[in-house]
Point group: C2
Chain length 424, copies 2
């Protein structure tokens, strides 16, 4: 893609509305814009990252045996009354009344809808287990939307639901999903921890949260990697530390660390919470009616994009982990009025594209400083600098966003080096 | 994918709620289920087709220079009041009131939102043209939702918007989009015609509809391919024919055909309809403020899936065009209790998957009749039949869903034949 033709409206100033780095940088890098409180537009650069995250999740969910579908956003009130959650969710669920005066909720989560689907279609133990998931826009009327897409009112979630005939089956599928989540967050480049958690509005007996370590997280954990122990910190640092220390073995206490965290995933052992209330049953081996044993597994897809930035940025901008970077490389001709610089950059750009590399070409007639600033701001891992001075020596400069490492190479050497750097 | 583990709930009976073939077959093939009037769930098989259609559209839109983004579904009332469409859309737009008593519409289309975004970011003629598009769930409270996903209240659209500095620019981009649409509908396997149309609620000076020929269409056209003339039929067949014949040259009249049609795409020359009302301007070469010249381009993504079935099915089920078939081939071991049949089928399945072919294995312990019926119902182009009788002769049977053509081949020959058949 040519930057001159791209809709990537970068900003120099830090927008006053944004308090945390990811919110500031997503606005400044032209990734998102605000339409209304907690309601954001994903611009092309932001959407590319979102799609990359989505694809990583999709691959791992499919590999774990889950099947993708798409459920509606409009949920009939009657379905939510079956579980009592029409009342429980209250104002957090946005409501629509249609032209025939029927009431709908805009789905903040999909347990009722998926349980309704499965109870109509899965009648026998022979059809179990079933694991279904979707990527979908969720609506939650947060009291205090904040931090950009981190806590929005309209956001993208991957939600997954498992249906088993018994606890043993659920245990197997729950473990599969936990492993899939670990794979996903590792592939996204996260430093994360898994921790036992409260089940909140979703409910069930047991749940785990997946927490990305970040200075600006809204929650906090204590963890000891040596002992593989992680616990949520419910109170301010000092007080909670004492409480938690008492529960840990002495060797752990020395290694224990405190960190603010961002929740990016949540797995729930739901048991029969929904199936019992909704009379969602199958016939077992003896022909007897039994409620499904359910699990549910959510990932905040849009939140992952923000969390990645919280975890990886510097004073100059975003530093994308390779797997979710919108582009793999950016070619920077420092002086497009110099024919040799322009042609060399165009040639490199064409060759990299030809090799299937996702590459940006900053073909704008802008000063070198502007180009470097924008490249650092949007955080592309590999910068390829073509300059008059470099070409005089027959060299091109490759600069890594993360480490600042520089390679000066001939054009021919540069091509294979870029490919190598991208694949590492 | 193994059919035994797939969530593909097929049905033998024709559901009484469905009147047209696509609706009947999507329900019977386990592609969709109804949640509420005009609100449907896409099950895994239906979702796979939807994703294939989406990918074809994405490739052609990107090739035409459009950039993908994602706009919100929640639209502030104030924005729609700028164009007067809050009143005009009336009950067709679903409304939400949030906990702070602010009013939102659920986006039935996105002219206001995209124009608001572009007016904030594009200030100079140097930044034009810009072409932006998205795939998104739209909400329209239809008076009479019908025909399954053909006319739903919640559905998937690809909507695209172009912003130019002058009419000449719009003309170029409009033509690019028309060509992209022709490519898309050709790749989807459609027999379609383009016809000049009314602009309705979207408005503007000039618009074109892309119509798929189908017996069950809600609209109708007269067309003559020899003269390359297509006209919408507004009255019942007879009356309209006379009117239209008068407008056509004599050679055309002989060749003129009548057909019912399904609208799958619509392109609009909007001119300054939205930009003028919303004060959405750029500075031209002289530093003077000018409204953008806009175009908008929609495709009913979910409707395409239904239209494809309307155009291609028989008494036994769906006949997928290869490009949008959920799977490319299905392997049918006719007797899974026969070890040789089972092993040969498993081996074929593994090899086809290894070659990157999207293949289903009907590993269920079901009668041959059930397997053939389901394979025909879900419409997979290439059936690979492994039977005791066939293997006695050292043969496998390849049967094409569309033509009924049969090939009896050895396992080794079968593999290359299947690859060949899929690629044609």
């Amino acid at each position: 893609m040519r930057l001159s033709q791209s809709f990537i409206p970068t900003m120099k100033e830090i927008p006053s509305e944004a308090q945390i780095p990811s919110h500031q940088l997503m606005l400044r890098a032209g990734m998102i814009r605000k339409l209304s409180s907690g309601v954001y537009e994903f611009l092309p650069l932001g959407y590319m990252v979102l799609k990359k995250v989505e694809q990583i999740i999709r691959e791992e969910m499919n590999a774990a045996g889950a099947q993708e579908l798409l459920l509606p956003a409009l949920h009939p009130k009657e379905l939510w009354e079956e579980t009592g959650r029409w009342e429980i969710y209250g104002e957090e669920m946005m409501k629509v009344i249609d032209r025939n005066k029927r009431q709908f909720g805009l789905g903040p989560t999909h347990e009722e809808v998926i349980t309704d689907l499965v109870r109509k279609e899965v009648k026998s133990y022979r059809q179990l287990p079933v694991i279904l998931y979707q990527f979908q826009t969720k609506f939650r009327d947060e009291i205090r939307p904040r931090f950009g897409i981190m806590r929005g009112r309209e956001f993208i979630m991957k939600d997954c639901y498992s249906f088993d005939k018994d606890e043993a089956g659920l245990k197997i599928n729950y473990q599969k999903m936990v492993q899939a989540y670990k794979n996903i967050f590792t592939r996204c480049g996260f430093d994360f921890r898994m921790v036992q958690a409260d089940s909140g509005n979703i409910g069930g007996n047991l749940s785990h949260e997946f927490m990305v370590l970040a200075n600006t997280g809204e929650e906090a954990i204590y963890y000891c990697d040596a002992c593989q122990v992680t616990m949520k910190a419910k109170e301010p640092e000092g007080a909670a530390a004492e409480t938690i220390e008492k529960q840990l073995c002495p060797s752990c206490q020395k290694e224990m660390k405190y960190s603010r965290v961002i929740e990016v995933g949540h797995t729930f052992n739901l048991g029969t919470k929904y199936s019992a209330k909704m009379n969602a049953t199958y016939l077992d081996e003896k022909g007897e009616s039994q409620p499904y044993i359910m699990g549910c597994y959510g990932i905040g897809v849009s939140r992952i994009v923000a969390a990645a930035i919280e975890q990886s940025h510097d004073a100059n901008g975003i530093i994308w982990p390779k797997q979710i970077s919108p582009y793999q490389a950016i070619v920077l001709p420092l002086d497009v009025t110099n024919e040799q610089v322009k042609n060399t950059a165009e040639d490199l750009y064409a060759r990299l594209k030809g090799q299937g590399i996702e590459v940006l070409l900053d073909d704008r007639d802008e000063r070198a400083g502007v180009k470097f600033k924008d490249a650092d701001l949007i955080g592309i891992p590999v910068k390829v600098v073509v300059s008059t001075r470099g070409l005089a020596e027959g060299k091109i400069e490759i600069k890594l966003r993360q480490t600042g490492e520089v390679f000066k190479l001939s054009v021919a050497e540069a091509l294979s080096k870029i490919t190598e750097l991208i694949q590492v």
